[in-house]
């Protein structure tokens, strides 16, 4: 199987260790902050950026991300707005965005936008992949994969400590980009630190020799947890900790650089 020509696949072809993917919610803390934060993260040297499309009922997310979703929606954020904000970011004369972009969100707003229209827009503005936790894997394969493929858009899937080896193999076969390893059975932001149980899970996955690279998310919030994740996968994803940081210390380039330095020393 040849890989889709895509910034995410290119990234992993060049770099396989200590990758840092940072999540933030679009339109948070202010509606116009999306591009500021995106650029700040790129300048701070993160490898991938995951932009949250806010949703009224984010069941897989903990309080911090839920609240940021609520704030963003109150600010008037929507998928349409987000595409407007991202439009031209790849060709910006001063500060072109080159970092791979993932959109993370829930299926309903995407269905209302129209799956094909959504994929087309992603391609147009330079989005490389999506994470839609409540889109069932089987349904994606049956109904939507062909559309995603047509627009060169990767769909990243989650696995958890409870996911069976058989299902992990299936996900590994059908998806590309990377596999999102949820560190423990949990919603975002609810755990911190890496336990022995998690270590055993990381090692089990490591020994499966999957085709796709892996990033570990949920509970990564400092250098210690980032290093532990990186020792067991190709890198890590940080979300809630960054949202809290934005809230407390603002969206300036300095503030974002400080946060990133505090994760990947």
């Amino acid at each position: 199987m040849t890989l889709t020509q895509n910034r995410i696949n290119d990234l992993f072809a060049q770099k396989s260790e200590r990758l840092l993917n940072v999540y933030f919610t679009a339109g948070f803390p202010q509606l116009a902050d999306t591009r500021t934060v995106l650029l700040g993260l790129q300048q701070a040297g993160v490898d991938l950026v995951e932009i949250g499309m806010p949703y009224s009922d984010p069941v897989a997310d903990g309080e911090t991300i839920q609240q940021s979703n609520g704030v963003a929606l109150d600010n008037g954020m929507s998928i349409r707005q987000l595409f407007n904000q991202l439009d031209g970011c790849r060709t910006d004369a001063e500060n072109p965005i080159t970092v791979p972009i993932l959109l993370m969100g829930y299926i309903n707003p995407v269905l209302q936008f129209g799956v094909e229209a959504f994929c087309q827009k992603c391609q147009e503005v330079g989005v490389d992949g999506v994470i839609l936790p409540d889109l069932p894997f089987d349904l994606y394969v049956d109904e939507y994969k062909a559309i995603f493929d047509r627009y060169g858009l990767l769909n990243i899937f989650l696995i958890t400590p409870q996911t069976s080896d058989e299902r992990i193999r299936f996900i590994d076969e059908v998806s590309e980009g990377f596999i999102y390893m949820v560190s423990s059975a949990s919603i975002t932001g609810s755990v911190s630190g890496i336990s022995d149980v998690m270590k055993a899970y990381f090692e089990r996955i490591q020994s499966m020799n999957l085709r796709n690279p892996r990033l570990i998310g949920f509970g990564i919030n400092n250098t210690e947890t980032f290093d532990a994740a990186s020792a067991n996968a190709n890198g890590a994803i940080v979300g809630s900790a960054f949202i809290r940081h934005l809230q407390e210390q603002g969206t300036s380039a300095d503030s974002i650089q400080r946060f990133v330095n505090g994760i990947r020393a």
Binding site: F113, D134, L158, T160, T163, V182
Partner: protein, 399 residues
């Protein structure tokens, strides 16, 4: 072991969990093993003779089934048709909700679960869940919208007395939808030892089907009872209120394939369908995904779920179960939007006419009778889903 089955009719769930275009299991991977475990086992568990024996025994001796089918003479005269009330209000704990919680706790036990989590709106499902947890000695955590905790205080006290921990859901509109979100999050965080007892025919497959099967006892009984009283199994109409739709699913279940029986669903219109303060899902909603299934739901153009409103906490929900979405979509079900005022009037009316104080949810079904253009020869079964004790403070504000 039988794990899937062929749908026998278009109103039965397909083995992928769909009713027509609606249903499925739109869940994050974190919930997949739990839901899959349930999907693979529920039919076999329900079919076990030991399960059936225990379920039937509890329905009889604990819940107090069969519930009567009562000929409401004075109401019949007023409405101008023969009205029977299926008395789910006489179930232990005061509503139909316990039919489902008895069934699910027996499933949870057979799956080896140690703890139960549930959401509740009016508190009826919370009470019914706390009750069966006490009965079986399982730990019980109930999420309830902070606003509902205020307006359904007696039920909160009952849950606590039954030994449940009631946790307020403070996100969003702080009502049933948000309590459901919190219960799902709790389940994600506790995947192995916890069973989530959903309180209606909503959620990812197999919940809508499983809950409908447990509530189906309502129409199983009403058919038999009507045969005894009227010499026919089939009424002309079955009427039920729809929040998520569990009492309606149960009341409709054994009539789904009887085309002469018209199925009437009463939704909460709040201050009016167009008022911006409503929970009339089929009138205002569009297809979308909520709480794990594709259904009809109230949402903005951007696909954000709309905050619903109804005077009755049990109907204050922006979606309906996928079976009902399919009944609506296919035309098999007829949906009426009933305002707060209509429901209050119908509640007072039944109290004075028949000496039965209905739950505010149920009052919506009663109000639908006034809009149905019935004739003298019509036989109507109304699902009297619950009693109104929990709503006294709301009723008395409008006396």
């Amino acid at each position: 072991m039988q794990t899937t089955f062929e749908p026998q009719t278009s109103f039965e769930v397909s083995n992928k969990g769909f009713y027509g275009h609606f249903g499925g299991a739109f869940i994050p991977e974190m919930l997949y093993p739990n839901v899959e475990e349930l999907r693979q086992n529920y039919l076999a568990i329900i079919a076990e003779p030991s399960f059936q024996a225990e379920f039937q025994n509890l329905l009889t001796d604990y819940v107090g089934r069969p519930t009567p089918l009562f000929l409401a003479k004075r109401l019949s005269e007023q409405v101008g048709a023969t009205i029977y009330l299926k008395r789910e209000d006489l179930c232990h704990t005061g509503a139909h909700k316990i039919n489902n919680t008895i069934g699910q706790i027996l499933v949870a036990q057979r799956l080896g679960k140690k703890r139960i989590v549930a959401e509740t709106g009016a508190g009826q499902h919370g009470v019914a869940t706390a009750t069966v947890c006490a009965l079986m000695g399982l730990e019980c955590i109930i999420y309830m919208g902070a606003i509902d905790i205020e307006r359904q205080k007696p039920n909160v006290d009952r849950m606590r007395m039954l030994g449940a921990e009631v946790r307020p859901a403070r996100s969003g509109s702080q009502t049933l939808k948000d309590a459901t979100n919190e219960a799902m999050r709790h389940w994600i965080n506790n995947p192995v030892d916890t069973h989530y007892i959903i309180g209606s025919v909503v959620g990812p497959h197999p919940y809508p089907d499983m809950v409908a099967r447990f509530q189906a006892v309502i129409s199983l009984e009403s058919r038999k009872q009507l045969l005894e009283k009227e010499g026919r199994e089939n009424p002309d109409y079955v009427v039920a209120c729809v929040g998520g739709g569990s009492n309606a699913a149960g009341a409709f279940y054994h009539y789904l394939n009887e085309p002469t029986v018209r199925l009437i669903a009463a939704e909460a219109a709040g201050h009016g369908v167009e008022s911006g303060h409503s929970a009339a899902t089929t009138a205002l909603g569009k297809p979308g995904v909520l709480h794990g299934s594709r259904t009809i739901l109230m949402q903005t153009e951007d696909g954000q779920v709309t905050e619903p409103y109804s005077i009755s906490a049990g109907l204050d929900y922006p979606g309906i179960g996928p079976l009902h979405a399919h009944l609506f979509d296919s035309g098999r079900g007829e949906f009426y939007s009933i305002t707060d005022d209509d429901a209050l009037k119908a509640g007072f009316n039944l109290s004075k006419l028949e000496g039965i104080i209905p739950a505010l949810e149920t009052a919506h079904a009663l109000a639908a009778l006034n809009y149905m253009s019935l004739t003298k020869s019509d036989i109507v079964v109304v699902c009297l889903s619950g009693r109104g004790d929990k709503d006294l403070s709301t009723y008395t504000k409008h006396l």
